[in-house]
């Protein structure tokens, strides 16, 4: 149990890092989903994991049995999961809107708010879109 959880967190973070490095916005958002769940699992581990000892104070006692998991960490995860769910939903909607508005999922081609940078790997037509209010940089 104590080796399994770190392994899962490690694999999740590794996959997330791979996805986050992608130029495709959809992959980036999936990476965010994975890494935020890795953080939730780390928080889970902070509350001490134990098998078959529910965090319930037994009758007649005033404190939890020594081997019980700390229920506060689980309450914190619950909060974090709800927040994470909300933010992820927003991220997916924003991704879809970005695709509709900007016509691309390639983060390197999204240069509407910043001066376009001439790049060899981005077609000139993709960056020449709406750059109102932004002065084009002179090519080097």
């Amino acid at each position: 149990m104590n080796i399994l959880l770190p392994l899962i967190v490690g694999v999740l973070v590794a996959c997330a890092a791979y996805l986050l490095l992608s130029r495709n916005l959809v992959r980036v958002v999936f990476g965010l989903a994975l890494i935020s769940n890795a953080a939730n699992l780390a928080l889970f581990a902070a509350g001490r994991l134990s098998r078959a000892v529910p965090p319930v104070v037994p009758e007649g006692a005033t404190v939890l049995p020594a081997a019980a998991a700390n229920p506060l960490a689980q309450a914190l995860i619950l909060t974090a999961v709800v927040i994470g769910f909300g933010v992820l939903t927003f991220a997916f909607v924003l991704t879809y809107r970005a695709y509709q508005k900007l016509g691309t999922m390639d983060t390197a081609a999204m240069r509407h708010a910043e001066p376009p940078v001439p790049r060899r790997d981005v077609g000139a037509g993709e960056v020449a879109g709406d750059v109102a209010g932004v002065e084009p940089e002179a090519p080097p």
Binding site: L32, L72, I83, V87, L102
Partner: protein, 502 residues
């Protein structure tokens, strides 16, 4: 008096609900929004007065005693930030109401801004690490929405670049919370302070602290985690950008101050000096970035980055004067930034909405009074006496020399010199350069716009000047805030002493 603490959160949240319900009715929405901001400014100002008179105030939500319940606590630092934030939010919202109504307002811009204000106030006033995380999320989620609510292409693009790094920052934050909790078993700042002192030798919460610091310096926009800031802050209307620049990045700096000075006053070893290096790099990168910008609004973004470096420089010095200088710098920078952003908004309006540097000009002859409104904030940013920015920089230099951080102090002076150049270039281009021949007419104002526009800019220009001439009260506030962080006995007593009110 402790009722003021929950009120500072309830007022913006209630205003947000009302403004959202009234979002289709132009006048009513703005009236509700301004009334809410006025009440919030009043409540936070009263809170500041109470803390100034009686020391830290704390209350436990739900009546659960200190380390178990949800603590709201205002020491001098929190109260000063909350009060200044409330006042600046009111000024920025008044300015925003001078504009003719745009699509983003009928989509709930005012409601989102008030939720953001609640998040900012919550972050300043909470006494608990996990609640700080929750308020961080509240202000982040609402700022995401504020950024993209107009749905134009530039704002959508900026929203993507703002969202991804900041979301990663909250993941770091949560991981840090997990690691700190696993080692100490508590998340209350006051309790953590004691728990860290009581750790057996060889144990520390440094790894967790580093994760938390990563989240804070990302939110503050410190090198190397700042690239999202200049990519996004120039796209919303100028009043919204002013709020972002004055409040959101400062929450990151506040987190660094609370964590490094109150919770882990010692430890971390060479990492503290690393923070000094990062602060120096932030100043340099920010100011050089500002120097080469061809767009006024993007130039402002880079000055935000640069001046965060100044504040963190003081925090990284490990001395009482350093912390005091940093807090004074942070407080005056909030004021100066809002003033400068709003003044630049007026320049943009007079230039027909143009922000490209070479399309500005001619305002010296066309609008000489505007130059008078622009100069106090601009000169304060450059650090020229008698404006308030000079004193902030002077205190930082003194603290740096006293701490023997010669290299970083030299870098700071160099950055300040380049900063004068940045501000001079902006002023010369906007005011002294000849007006472009085909300049579009000034943008139209909303009903009653001229007074709503002029009021906040005038107040801020006057505030920056007066705070520079009568500098003693500001220094006293910063001094007390620093003393409260470095010797938290009163803070700890306030958090622990308040029993069950029921």
């Amino acid at each position: 008096m402790t009722v003021l603490l929950p009120l500072s959160l309830l007022v913006p949240l209630a205003t947000a609900v009302a403004a959202f319900l009234l979002r289709r009715r132009a006048g009513a929405e703005r009236a509700v929004s301004l009334t809410g901001a006025l009440i919030l400014a009043g409540v936070t100002a009263r809170l500041f007065v109470a803390v100034w008179a009686d020391g830290p105030l704390a209350t436990q939500m739900g009546g659960w005693a200190a380390p178990f319940g949800i603590t709201l606590v205002a020491d001098m630092l929190s109260a000063a930030l909350a009060a200044l934030g409330g006042a600046l939010a009111l000024l920025a919202l008044v300015y925003a109401c001078a504009e003719p109504r745009k699509a983003d307002e009928s989509h709930g811009l005012h409601a989102l801004l008030h939720v953001m204000l609640a998040g900012v106030q919550g972050a300043f006033l909470t006494g608990d690490l996990f609640n700080l995380y929750v308020w961080f999320e509240v202000l982040l989620i609402s700022s995401f929405a504020v950024l993209v609510v107009g749905q134009d292409r530039r704002r959508t693009d900026a929203g993507v670049k703002y969202l991804v790094p900041n979301m990663l920052g909250t993941v770091f934050f949560l991981t840090g919370v997990a690691l700190v909790y696993a080692r100490t078993g508590t998340l209350n700042f006051a309790d953590l302070h004691a728990a860290v002192q009581g750790l057996p030798p060889g144990e520390s919460i440094d790894v967790g602290v580093v994760f938390l610091l990563l989240a804070f310096i990302l939110k503050a926009g410190i090198f190397p985690l700042f690239a999202w800031l200049p990519a996004s802050y120039h796209t919303p209307p100028v009043a919204v950008s002013a709020l972002f620049a004055a409040l959101l990045t400062k929450v990151g700096v506040y987190g660094v101050a609370r964590l490094l000075v109150l919770v882990v006053p010692t430890g971390l070893g060479p990492l503290r000096d690393g923070l000094l290096g990062l602060a120096a790099l932030t100043m340099v990168v920010g100011v050089l970035g500002a120097l080469v910008q061809r767009d006024m609004r993007r130039l402002l973004n880079f000055t935000v980055v640069s001046h965060i470096g100044f504040a963190v420089f003081g925090l990284a010095l490990k001395s009482q004067v350093g912390v005091m200088a940093a807090l004074f710098y942070m407080l005056q920078d909030m004021m100066v930034k809002t003033g400068l952003f709003l003044a630049c908004g007026m320049v943009q309006r007079e230039s027909g909405g143009e922000t490209r540097m070479r399309r500005l000009g001619g305002l010296w002859s066309a609008k000489p009074a505007l130059a008078l409104l622009f100069l106090p904030s601009a000169l304060a940013l450059a650090g020229i006496p008698p404006f308030v920015g000079f004193w902030g920089k002077l205190m930082l230099v003194q603290a740096g020399v006293a701490a023997g951080a010669w290299a970083a102090t030299a870098v700071m002076l160099l950055a300040t010199a380049v900063n004068v150049l940045v501000v001079g270039r902006l002023f010369a281009q906007a005011f002294w350069a000849p007006a472009p021949p085909d300049r579009p007419p000034p943008l139209p104002l909303g009903p009653g716009g001229a007074a709503l526009l002029l009021g906040p800019v005038l107040v801020l220009a006057a505030a920056v000047t007066v705070a520079g001439v009568v500098v003693e009260p500001g220094v006293q506030v910063a001094g007390r805030a620093a003393a409260g962080l470095l010797d938290p006995a009163a803070y700890l007593a306030a958090v622990r002493g308040e029993g069950n009110p029921g």
